[in-house]
Symmetry: C2
Subunit: 674 residues, 2 copies
Amino acid sequence: MTEHAPALARAATDARAFALANCIRALAIDGVEAAKSGHPGAPMGMAEAATMLWTRHMKFDAARPDWPDRDRFVLSNGHGSMLLYALLHLTGFEDMPIEELKNFRQWGARTAGHPEYGHAAGVDITTGPLGQGLAGAVGMCMAEAHLAARFGREVVDHRTWVFCGDGCLMEGISQEAISLAGHLKLDRLCVLYDDNGISIDGATDKAFTEDTTGRFEAAGWQVIACDGHDVAALDDAITRAKAETARPTLIRMRTVIGLGSPNRAGTAASHGAPLGAEERALVRQALDWANEDFSVPAELLAEWRAAGARGATEREAWEARLAALPAERRAEFERRIAGEMPDGFDAAVARARESLFAEPQKVATRKASQIALETLAEACPEMIGGSADLTGSNLTRVKAVDSDFQADSPEGRYVSWGVREFGMAAAMNGMSVHGGVIPYGGTFLVFSDYARNAIRLSALMGVGTIHVMTHDSIGLGEDGPTHQPVEHLISLRAIPGLTVFRPADAVEALECWELAIRSRRAPSLLALSRQAVPQLRGAGEENLSARGAYVIRQFGESRDVTLIATGTEVALAVEAAEALHAKGHGVAVVSMPSWELFDAQVPEYRAEVLGTAPRIAVEAASKLGWTRYVASEEDVIGMDGFGASAPAEVLYEKFGITGDAIVARAAALIGAAS
Amino acid sequence: MTEHAPALARAATDARAFALANCIRALAIDGVEAAKSGHPGAPMGMAEAATMLWTRHMKFDAARPDWPDRDRFVLSNGHGSMLLYALLHLTGFEDMPIEELKNFRQWGARTAGHPEYGHAAGVDITTGPLGQGLAGAVGMCMAEAHLAARFGREVVDHRTWVFCGDGCLMEGISQEAISLAGHLKLDRLCVLYDDNGISIDGATDKAFTEDTTGRFEAAGWQVIACDGHDVAALDDAITRAKAETARPTLIRMRTVIGLGSPNRAGTAASHGAPLGAEERALVRQALDWANEDFSVPAELLAEWRAAGARGATEREAWEARLAALPAERRAEFERRIAGEMPDGFDAAVARARESLFAEPQKVATRKASQIALETLAEACPEMIGGSADLTGSNLTRVKAVDSDFQADSPEGRYVSWGVREFGMAAAMNGMSVHGGVIPYGGTFLVFSDYARNAIRLSALMGVGTIHVMTHDSIGLGEDGPTHQPVEHLISLRAIPGLTVFRPADAVEALECWELAIRSRRAPSLLALSRQAVPQLRGAGEENLSARGAYVIRQFGESRDVTLIATGTEVALAVEAAEALHAKGHGVAVVSMPSWELFDAQVPEYRAEVLGTAPRIAVEAASKLGWTRYVASEEDVIGMDGFGASAPAEVLYEKFGITGDAIVARAAALIGAAS
């Protein structure tokens, strides 16, 4: 590893760049000191790289952070957030006045501990959970490549720059991302790797001694090694990355974490805690930095602001090129970037509904999903589909997207993600924040586990990524408990801001898809069955799934019991209700495709749907959580433990998820109530 | 890729091996046909490799599947389960008569769709969720290396063999596993990679074109490429793997998926569906296999049985060596393998309790966990600690384990897992099923997301892996919502068979650790705080946490309200109870460190603890699920959405998790009740 003093000397060789970089260092240190928490080490170690990238290479215009053709910047080592906040402030982003830096990590500030998408313009994606920034960047590049192919290089011609640390590369998701990026030859992707040999527990050689260069080269990347404090070398490396046209680039920068801190540089002590007043004084001495806290000399700030304005000309030229596009192409591009629905969407939905009412479908809800997609994906050209190597099972491929997205066909609308659920979900998030596309991707519901933190991030960011999860219960059958979700529905419903859909039939599947596609500021997850269900819904124009739950059947005038069910169990509940009705009971069956949407309804509607009679919930999944709607878990016909390997119908029988069980419980409740 | 006919011809070169391999093919095909579902492709493609490994190299004794020094076999591509079942049957494992194969994938059979640990001796680990078998094998090798260092090569001297496919290597966890295995120079690990170029969606080159050899070499592995149907080449490759003493080995076998099936070999069609009667007939023709279904010619079965008995001599020699060990070492080895607690454990627990009562600790529960570990890890030499690069945060390192487990120090008891939560959890499962060690590993609770499916597998397998998860709420503070768990507690409680502990103070932390260590047939997860809490518990011998919940404070004679809290919120509930009591109300405070243990108590105890007064739950986490114990989510003082970045005390205030909020809700409930 590079040592402190010589590294500092090399950084100082270019006095101007060094002074600019020290603005970042000083602000990062001050922010962390003021907050009494945070991570100074990464900003100090990557200050030269950030300076060279942001002042000389990256295409952006601080005055127009929403410029669609700007380069994207991803701080995958998100704990170094002060690096990004310092850059945004220095280059003049309106959202990032010095007060925000002073308020780092405080309630209501835009400067959260880790960069949060939506808090401040210039934060292109939420990062912090390691490795996901890198995977998100892959998605951004995929969106860029796709839009460039669709709308032309005259309006889509940008790059994605990633800063990452050792932690990101230790996480398995990084391999999913780099393998896919290499496969897709994403030449617009450049990762600057902060190879500082230090992670939280000390020297990385305690756990991480692989040949990173060899690993990336094996994945088809260009790898450039350089000294991360030598600005000329950095300039050259970045220039070479930009010149590369067939591969993504890794710039492996040998750096010193916490560079500038005489006692902490090169050690884990500089990683995740304030330096303290004493050490800060020593840093200032070492950097020849004699300014007040949070203060940058006017001439340096002016240079930084000039860098922030540097892209204005290019942005204006881009606007002219956009204006010169053929009207239709331009309008379509602007619509997509604005995230507005296409004109024909409503009509397409109506058409698809009509078709289901004209010809009811008794199919698995995954098949119903495919039927819905046939129409909707055609009406919605920004949709990009895919699957984590389960296309034939997820049924995510339809005619409109029946074109492979590959290195030589970026206009394609279907991504073969490989068996990479986490990478897929995180990259889809990158596509979502990039804009211009609506990504959806499939796997088995049980493997939502693998992708879980990316699903969470889609909810935290508030982006409309669509997660398609089939084989949603023990109905999966023979593959057995490793493949049968049990706890997944409740676990996913627990993620704030995620809408979980479990449609009951072909009509609900269409409705849920419509809602998911329209939901551009919240992610959706569709839980879909392997096994077939009858179509329960008759004609009607309203999207009843939009209410989250509704009475799908009423037997008799009164209501002695209410059966609440989701997905494949709605048909079972209807059967049981018929049997109960035959015995003289009044029964309402409530289909509840989405808890979240139901809970968002007005209290009167909720009260009306739930009724005052005893309630039973039916779902072939964990009973946990259903006491939100029923009195006790004894009133839930569901699962108490893991599933098993056997044909689906045997499993339903053995685990007691049967019409008889519903009838028995209902009889007990009605008996008790009367 | 190798083509079918020439590959078949090469396989047939060694007539005897070919015939043996065809026993596997025939049984796999028959099993899948009978079940009408399953995966014939992998068993057919890996039949030569399995034959060579099991008949000539792997050390095992079918009559003694629990022989501790046997080689371990991991079918990481678990969908090829019929391969393993066929091998177990052919070599004569008592648990695997032909009836089990005929009953493949049926209710009650030992032959689940994917290999399930505990269903049949010889299934060394549950596999199916891709990549985790490989990571589990890394843990097995770590356990082996550790035990060998502790007890000597005369009794611990075995290898771990892994079969894996493309899917395993696409999953990110595989990189975590291979990177760590290379770093640790696990020379007893050999992975036979079924490089058949096919995954479910077709040719792997749609998504997976990396240079696998380069990738493994970059991680420090020996890579041997060979033809997977050339038994001489396989024999040679396996021999070389055994001779290697400084690196793990990858045998990259070029194979034809579904070899033997004239129309499906080399295509995805052979992967995951029965071949059908017609194609099966063609296979039999191609393989010159003229036997009845599920029938193997006597002379071939005899050969296989001989292979299964081949290890008996070696096993007997091992028994003699074990008997010759010094008595103390032998007794300790046998105790560990049996999974029995050490003699001094009870006394150590008692000592640690006394110490806490003598000198109460006001500390974070992560610190309390460390205090408990100081004593318990010393009393329990089979415990191996570690952290995913958060040692100083998780406080998982204590004196007894203060020795690095590294390539040159396998006797060490502390693993630097790197930032690899999923790999860590899966490898710990491998250590657990291997036996002889009790692994525990730390990360932040929010990153349980990354490890989630491995946590699930520890529960499904019923093994006592201990997951240590600190920074368990918004109490984490400034790092913000990406790092603050909200939905995690309920999501983890939803996993069947996992015991989630959230101790309230130093005494409960000790009690929960005691329970976790004693729990050898179910995994435990400890959720621990960043912030300090007072010690609430006074002297007393009973481990009250073992009951899951108990009345920790009673104010007044009567009970007007019951406050149920967990972890750091118990102290808050106690404060609120004091305030309520000052207003003249009788209040019981229930500490509930574990839902699972509480729900397992007798109804009388549960009723007594919960009482009949109105109840309020207090937990700085999602309210979802608490209606198991309280009437409505309005009675939960908890979180409705994600957290935020700010100091912890500010967050508790802003999110309304305060004594005042508890008092206000209690007053409302008491008012309504009176």
